[in-house]
Symmetry: C2
Subunit: 277 residues, 2 copies
């Protein structure tokens, strides 16, 4: 999916919500576990069908599928396939935070772009240029590079300042622009980072930012938009737990739809207030 198409979806649907499919069998409603021998996919399908009108993107986090071995991997592949076939207007992100030496990153890229048909993959920048480039060899696919994450540990290394006053996350943002344009690359910036969004926007005024941390992690949607939104939106704000575990009864999908709709409605306000869409 190209950038223009994504922006058009945001403008039409009045939402920049990404629903995180962090499906954990210890947290899904009992009715899902009881009814089915494919509970992960069953849960995902119900969540997707319920929330699709209120979001423009889905983001399964691969970590939640890997502990279930073959069953988990199959559920992930089926989820990606189901999304691709039934919701072709949604942007699909594999949240994998991969990154390795060149010939190895190439294998990870094959997994998410060939074996599964994702639009984008999250990548960790620690190993530098040649660990990121192989993910960019696929025309029309995106890299979402970690810059300033939502967690407490983001302070350990990402805020390190060099002798010119540049912080590590700023160096990542700056260097990554040599590797791809804003048509092929986005950056992860956590909703908990508040006014640091202004510093991010000084370096990447036009890039899309993938923003986790609204909801369970305590980030403010209003702050993210005030400091991070561009005239063309430039934000995909992710919510996982707040949507997919909104209710633990048989009406979990309905509750997920309501939670997503509430966020969509707030996002519509934000688009009117801070963007030109």
């Amino acid at each position: 999916m190209n950038k223009q198409y994504l922006v058009e979806q945001i403008r039409l649907k009045r939402t920049f919500l990404c629903v995180g499919l962090d499906t954990d069998l210890t947290k899904v409603p009992p009715c899902v576990l009881d009814a089915d021998d494919e509970p992960i996919f069953t849960f995902n399908k119900a969540i997707i069908d319920a929330t699709a009108p209120y979001c423009v993107a889905y983001k399964p986090n691969l970590a939640f599928y890997e502990p279930y071995g073959l069953q988990g991997w199959e559920a992930l592949a089926r989820t990606a396939e189901y999304l691709r076939e039934n919701y072709p207007d949604h942007f699909l992100i594999a949240d994998a935070k991969r990154g390795d030496i060149g010939n190895t990153s190439r294998q990870y890229a094959r997994a998410v772009f060939e074996d599964m048909d994702f639009d984008a993959v999250t990548v960790a920048p620690y190993m530098g240029e040649d660990s990121v480039i192989p993910f960019l060899d696929y025309d029309g696919r995106w890299v979402v590079l970690l810059a300033l994450t939502s967690n407490r540990g983001s302070q350990d290394f990402q805020l390190m300042v060099d002798d010119q006053g540049e912080r590590l996350f700023e160096r990542v943002l700056r260097r990554a622009q040599d590797w791809a344009s804003d048509e092929r690359m986005m950056f992860v910036v956590g909703a908990t980072q508040g006014r640091l969004f202004e510093d991010v926007r000084r370096i990447v005024p036009h890039h899309f930012l993938l923003v986790p941390g609204v909801g369970a992690q305590g980030g403010s949607l209003e702050d993210v938009c005030r400091y991070g939104m561009t005239p063309r939106c430039g934000l995909l704000v992710n919510s996982s737990r707040g949507i997919i575990y909104a209710d633990h009864s048989e009406r979990y999908a309905e509750a997920a739809a309501e939670a997503a709709k509430t966020l969509q409605s707030e996002m519509d306000e934000m688009l009117k207030k801070y963007s030109e869409l």
Copy 2:
């Protein structure tokens, strides 16, 4: 496996070789592909049986299994199980370079330590303390943290210098010592880094280092040992392509054994020259 046991294996077998199982079906000999419907596991098993006397560790890189979807995941799980059952004295590293916010890293840890029974997992440090700690919740299991990698891109961020003169990889080494001792943590330092091993050893004089980059990537075993070996060895030197693709004919396993044996013999010399083992 604890540190003392690993050192004892190195002393007894006169080797600190780790064989990297980066199994790529486009590179395995035709005879493997022709003979079998489980070529990845068949290849791994033959390589393991041939090389086990000459190494103390095995390291499948998960990237090479993921592009094959279910088939790849099953081959990885079978390989880990085969190693665990038949070679209990070998140290098993899942080369995964994972790392995410706390509740997500916990899922990755479940995958490698519960679903599969690895001794250790490689972790990327970019997201800081709370992305690493969940991997340390498993008694007796190890984190192998990226510090200074073997690739060209290691220069992009890992050598960044702060206003006190400390480089990013040094900050990672220093901070990580607050998270676990040398009984639970190792660091990745690339064989291509030459005398920078001395700077690493100034900060972590006793930790094991996992060293990729000898062979195909051009690192020198002698340099690694001269600047990085401790009295108790403190090194696991990995070789992947140089061993597993040593020959493309039906005698590929025999050739792998010869390549591993040659390294073992060089390592014996290094242990005599630079360690007390």
